[in-house]
């Protein structure tokens, strides 16, 4: 993926579906047989390059990247488990004595079926609407969670303002600290999804500008934050 191509593509303000399509075709991934691990890697690479020249990557795209990364982690863990899966298992730990479980056989018998009745049809009609209500409730819950996790959309607060707020918080905390470094989690008023998303891209942009140095020693560890060389 060339940076100029990414810049050209990003300037079209793509949604995440278009972004996925574009990455799949750019990377020559077979759309009928997508390797999720490969796609997830390509997507993260794309997002990090995009961030280099435009830190306001749309929140939805960041979320899609996060989902892909999670799928990747799950797949890798799955593969690892498959490889290292022990044949012998500690049965006692499970509190299950497999020795008393007999081999089950499917009976060789027929399953005489009858026709459905009109009463069952009426009951199914009622149930269909119950299903619908349940599905709608579930959908609303999901949408609410996504909305809560994406405060950037429709938010009037300027990204610049958020960057400056974060910078002054880093400054204030480090002023009184001997080690001269703090962690990303200490910078947030609360450790929740909303705050993480609100502050993560400002942190990346401060890091990019060299005003702070953000480092992560291990994957999924807290991010260490120090003052950068570029001062005001």
């Amino acid at each position: 993926m060339k940076e100029q191509e990414i810049l050209d593509f990003a300037s079209t303000e793509p949604n995440w579906e278009e972004t996925l399509d574009w990455i799949i075709s750019e990377e020559g991934i077979d759309p009928w047989d997508i390797d999720l691990i490969e796609l997830s890697g390509a997507f993260s690479e794309f997002v990090s390059k995009w961030q280099k020249f435009n830190f306001t990557v749309p929140a939805r795209i960041v979320i899609i990247m996060a989902i892909l990364l999670r799928i990747k982690v799950e797949l890798l863990m799955w593969e690892e488990r498959e490889e290292s899966e022990p044949d012998e298992i500690d049965i006692e730990e499970l509190d299950i004595d497999v020795s008393d479980i007999p081999q089950l056989e499917a009976p060789k018998k027929r399953k005489p079926v009858r026709k459905a009745t009109a009463d069952e049809l009426i009951e199914a009609f009622r149930k269909a609407f119950e299903t619908k209500e349940r599905r709608e409730k579930r959908k609303n819950r999901k949408e609410r969670r996504v909305r809560e996790a994406m405060p950037i959309d429709g938010q009037t607060e300027d990204i610049e303002e958020r960057i400056e707020n974060l910078y002054s918080r880093v400054d204030r905390i480090l002023e009184n600290m001997k080690e001269g470094r703090t962690t990303f989690s200490d910078l947030l008023p609360q450790w929740n999804r909303v705050e993480i998303i609100r502050n993560f891209s400002p942190l990346l942009s401060l890091n990019q500008e060299g005003r702070v140095i953000a480092e992560q020693e291990e994957c999924f560890d807290d991010i260490l934050v120090k003052m950068g060389d570029v001062c005001e």
Partner: protein, 179 residues
């Protein structure tokens, strides 16, 4: 005709929970197509006589033995298994009480699995696609009326009102419009 073929064909029809095609019966019995067909004919004849509560029935999916309609009411409580799954029944109910109805509306109500249920019901010829102006809608068939032993759809609608009551139906329709 071979008596053995006839016996195997009868055993197969008896034990199978779905219809069997001539091709399948040929494979099972290891007999010629001609023999299978003759066996089927002989089985049909035998069971069609009085004194039998079962008949040979042919659908476009194949042959099956089933209880003669006139005895069904007396005996259908003896098995817990219905030939329509819960999902299929939901779709069928929506077509019966709300039809003609668009496929997409059914999917809105019960989810995307609706499409596979629609496919099953079309194969069973209980519902069919009808053109309504520019869109395609689903409707019940004559086979549906046969299946439930009714002349007109109205009979079912009356039963629906008796069972659920006008208020509940109204409430359900309201939920439907809101979405």
């Amino acid at each position: 005709m071979n008596e053995n073929t006839e016996a195997v064909v009868e055993a197969a029809l008896f034990i199978s929970s779905g219809p069997l095609s001539v091709r399948k019966l040929k494979r099972i019995s290891g007999s010629e197509k001609k023999d299978v067909k003759e066996s089927l004919e002989s089985i049909r004849k035998r069971f069609s006589e009085d004194g039998h509560g079962v008949e040979l029935f042919e659908t476009n999916e194949g042959y099956e033995l089933r209880v003669k309609p006139e005895y069904l009411e007396d005996v259908s409580h003896l098995t817990p298994y219905s030939d329509l799954s819960r999902g299929q029944l939901k779709v069928l109910a929506l077509v019966a009480f709300k039809g003609p109805i668009k496929q997409s509306n059914i999917a809105k109500i019960i989810g995307n699995r609706a499409y596979s249920y629609i496919h099953d019901l079309e194969r069973k010829r209980l519902i069919k696609t009808e053109k309504h102006k520019r869109t395609k809608k689903l409707e019940i068939t004559d086979e549906f009326k046969n299946y439930f032993g009714i002349e007109e759809r109205k009979e079912l609608e009356q039963k629906l009102e008796e069972t659920l009551g006008g208020k509940e139906i109204e409430k359900m329709e309201k939920t439907n419009e809101e979405s």
